[in-house]
Symmetry: C2
Subunit: 584 residues, 2 copies
């Protein structure tokens, strides 16, 4: 495996062996360690001293199921802290196949307003070529991605940034192709797209032709692990074929969270939305059936995924509006804005993909602006127009593009659901305490994927825990955060967790796969420690950036305003929050 460093100051690159200290790391573990080692914590996230690191997980590029994830790391312009965002895409697998352990983008071009792309191929080792890409700036991504396939052939993978990133938005993601060449898979959160844009980098094209693939040290152990993992995924109700995710996608959660009173509605002023059923996964499935004349099950976002949870939303004529509409997006652009028009929500989702915006941050920012009086709650046409303004970079669009916290500041709104400057996702922390503890304490800013306690609290994975009870939730969040840091390094999609947390052999399967690839002999305890170590490195970076335990807090309104329908507040003490990292 190699370290590839791309210097955008003079558009040169280097290929070196993996430094010894990083050899045991991959994915999030690697991106976070490189950022912590090489990026000054107090640098400007959009300045010359920030870096962007791409790393595939241990199993990414192998035949391990659901393992085509890539981690993207950097200092976040949104939170000011360390950031790892990951995505499922063939691009991830190709990075592994090209034997690239880390692709590090550094430097800073003097000339502004110009963009370049890089094409990475195999020539005995990874080889990088630069090409000018300024002509692709200022256009929707769906328009410009095809040009890459025309230029470099059909068998490539494409990473890119959109207009949101070009505008320097704190809300701007890094886009990757899905299985149908659509630029719709996002390392979306925290504004890493803008970091890539400041480096003048518009595209990273990967061509795996001739590359050797991922070396597997212990093939037998790997195969054993792989089978265990496949068995677990194929039998668990949530992940099995025609199971929950394959039928209804992640949007299956709309009705479930609404039922639980934990679906944040109209800028987190209620936990229940009367229009929820209209934007649910079940409704998408039923409408698609009607519009396509048959049951449409979901597809995979990336090669080798057997969960296959990505839906497509079709319009009345049976034409695609967007793919995929995740739960988080349906919620953010729907319930949180008081919008129940599925097609308009899908349209906004498509626009976010086209402009390079994170759907969660976008929806929450619009909802905050609605509370500030910019447009009414529920006005989907006006909301669509706002997303266009974000793409255009108008003053209104720039406020929203700077994220929910900035939108709150601009409109003098007090109910701003953010932690560390990042918008909260689709689970009301007052109604689901464990996820609230994750929001508050994760190094990432409010982030459900950092420690998805929804699994036990809502879905009954690992046994059902009462979402309204604070009891034992700090420990639960801590365990989930540490485990997740490892899963984010394994190359697997987080959704394997549903199956492997319920099916012990599946969990061992993940460990076997990783040990098979790496030749390590890690135990379950080891990987928990490895995960915890990643969190500590991230935490240390954040503290040096001025983000300490006082930033591990919920916004004040969550502690004061009771949330309907359960009329509950976020009643977790500071001491409990501090115990999450204090006892790590």
């Amino acid at each position: 495996m190699f370290f590839v460093r791309v210097n955008m100051t003079d558009r040169t690159y280097s290929v070196t062996d993996v430094p010894e200290k990083y050899k045991h790391l991959a994915g999030r573990g690697l991106t976070s360690n490189v950022i912590a080692d090489e990026v000054p914590a107090l640098c400007h996230a959009l300045g010359p001293n920030n870096k962007l690191v791409f790393s595939p997980g241990y199993t990414t590029g192998t035949s391990a199921p659901t393992s085509s994830r890539v981690s993207v790391g950097g200092k976040s312009p949104l939170t000011g802290g360390i950031k790892e965002a990951n995505a499922g895409t063939s691009w991830a697998a190709d990075l592994g196949v090209l034997n690239i352990k880390a692709l590090i983008v550094e430097g800073f071009p003097e000339e502004k307003g110009k963009f370049w792309g890089i094409a990475v191929t195999w020539d005995g080792k990874p080889k990088v070529e630069f090409f000018e890409a300024t002509q692709y700036a200022g256009k929707p991504l769906a328009e410009v991605h095809p040009a890459m396939y025309e230029k470099f052939g059909e068998k490539i993978s494409v990473c890119s940034i959109g207009m949101a990133a070009e505008h320097g938005y704190s809300n701007s993601g890094v886009a990757f192709n899905d299985q149908y060449k659509r630029p719709t898979r996002y390392a979306g959160r925290g504004g890493l797209g803008a970091v890539m844009a400041t480096k003048g980098l518009k595209f990273i094209v990967l061509n795996r032709a001739g590359a050797p693939g991922v070396e597997i040290v212990d093939k037998a152990l790997f195969e054993e692990g792989r089978k265990k993992m496949i068995d677990a995924l194929r039998t668990h109700a949530i992940t099995k074929p025609k199971g929950g995710l394959n039928s209804y996608g992640t949007a299956i959660l709309v009705n479930i969270l609404n039922e639980a009173g934990g679906l944040p509605t109209r800028n987190f002023s209620s936990g229940r939305f009367e229009g929820a059923p209209k934007i649910s996964g079940e409704t998408i499935f039923e409408k698609n059936k009607e519009r396509k004349g048959k049951e449409v099950y979901n597809h995979n976002c990336s090669p080798g995924c057997i969960i296959q949870c990505s839906n497509t939303v079709y319009d009345e004529k049976g034409e695609e509006i967007t793919s995929c509409l995740e739960y988080e997006s349906a919620w953010a652009l729907g319930a949180d804005c008081g919008i129940d028009n599925l097609e308009d929500v899908a349209k906004m989702n498509a626009l976010c993909n086209d402009y390079g915006l994170d759907t969660i941050e976008t929806g929450v920012a619009i909802a905050v602006a609605m509370e500030g009086g910019l447009i009414p709650f529920g006005d989907s046409k006006a909301a669509i127009e706002l997303v266009h303004e974000m793409g255009k970079g108008t003053p209104k669009g720039r406020i929203l593009g700077a994220g929910a916290a900035t939108t709150g500041r601009a409109f003098g709104v007090r109910r701003v659901p953010v932690v560390k400057g990042q918008a909260m996702p689709a689970y009301e922390p007052r109604a689901v305490k464990g996820i609230g503890i994750t929001y508050a304490t994760t190094t990432m800013g409010a982030d459900h994927t950092a420690g998805y306690t929804i699994a036990p609290e809502i879905l009954g994975v690992m046994g059902k825990q009462d979402p309204l009870s604070p009891e034992g939730k700090a420990g639960l969040s801590r365990a989930f955060q540490a485990t997740t840091a490892f899963i984010d390094s394994s190359g697997h999609c987080l959704f394997i967790a549903f199956a492997i947390l319920d099916i012990a052999t599946g969990y061992q399967g993940m460990i076997d796969e990783v040990n098979g690839v790496t030749g390590n002999k890690w135990s379950a305890d080891d990987i928990l420690k490895l995960g915890g170590d990643i969190l500590k490195v991230e935490r240390k970076f954040n503290e040096a950036a001025g983000i300490g335990k006082e930033a591990d807090r919920m916004p004040e309104f969550m502690m004061k305003e009771p949330l309907p329908p359960h009329n509950v507040t976020f009643d977790i003490s500071d001491e409990t929050l501090d115990s999450v990292f204090g006892e790590l």
Copy 2:
């Protein structure tokens, strides 16, 4: 003396004796202690749990010269930390005469969009009456202040907030009348206007009729101190009649800082502005002489001030454009925006006063937006239009109204001259190291008045120190910050410092005045300790708000980009910065 608490939830009030623990405090010392004791550090600054505290200094309301200052304290919406901003105005003196040690505005009206005023009179003790003031909202302050005089008579003083505060801007000040009933004296920095607006409070009218005045415990000592102070102020070159400040106002500093290479120009990209002479105090004086047909010396902003540094800028017809145009304002709206048209700068200053905006934050935000490409540097007409947009609350105006840091975020600008979210004032820290240390370390966010080392570094007060040298500047800043915290409690204007730091009897005069009023026997060492104690209280609040030593840092570009003409960076180590409070 009394504590008056005004509860805006139900529009009631209470008058009590001064609690024992606060008896030795006044001005900044009192506001900061009350805020630290009563406001949760992590509350939302625009929420129900913030408070606004007004307190006159020890000598305010007495015949001590240049002592009509009032401190306004709260949690700042701009910095998220503690804030004390002060202003010179008859309102301050009247507060003292009314025997009000602290006027504390608390609570939160449920009904939004309505405003009230309060009128405070003397009836054996302070008496508060409420009146509806919604009809005065949404209008420039110069239009609505006269209504207060019509309503309550000519002998009142008026405190108010403008449209910037009504919009909830982090850049919104608290306005007070000057000696000509103009609403132009501001506790400007840090967004305390918006805090007052969230409480639904538009006006605080004071009528001193019948009030007993400030009790002076040791009249002889007070008189002695007062004479020493007057002698110092009347003899020092900077503060004497027809001296520097009385002739040219604070804008005398334009040419001086420009000469020193420390006049931040075009968003802190140079320390010298070729158009500086055109916006200087000397030019204002010369133009006024021509336009009024005689030499016009400056006037006092508040009763009893013998420095009299407030200028008036007249147009070609001899009509007033604005009063007063301070150095900071001429610089922020002029040099920092690359604007050398004095009349347009004065016009912008008048608009800031009318809309309730801090001129420093406004100018710096516009300059950042200029760098972001919104309008060109030097385009004064477009800049005037932007100030109007701030008043109107358009999306563009809201970005700027949220301050320079938010403007940088919205426009993806990296060169953003702020500390703790507050815009830097008119002294380039790369060219004047001591003031840079003050910017970085003061509890207030970048603030020259918190420790004005310009006195020795530029003006030769206390002996001249090389502004470019970092040598000994941490200790200098520490001493100035501690002394200033006491001066801000004394009731005196900071400008007494020029005289009393050079003339030892003047310094003793300040101490004698305060001891005379209070009956204390404080020594020079005592007041340094009292000042330091205030800083420690503020620091503790900030730390609890998540603003620790990592926030005591300059923006990265200041350490990396050499500043013309001296081509210097801010070369002060983190350890040196930390020693300012570490050794307090």
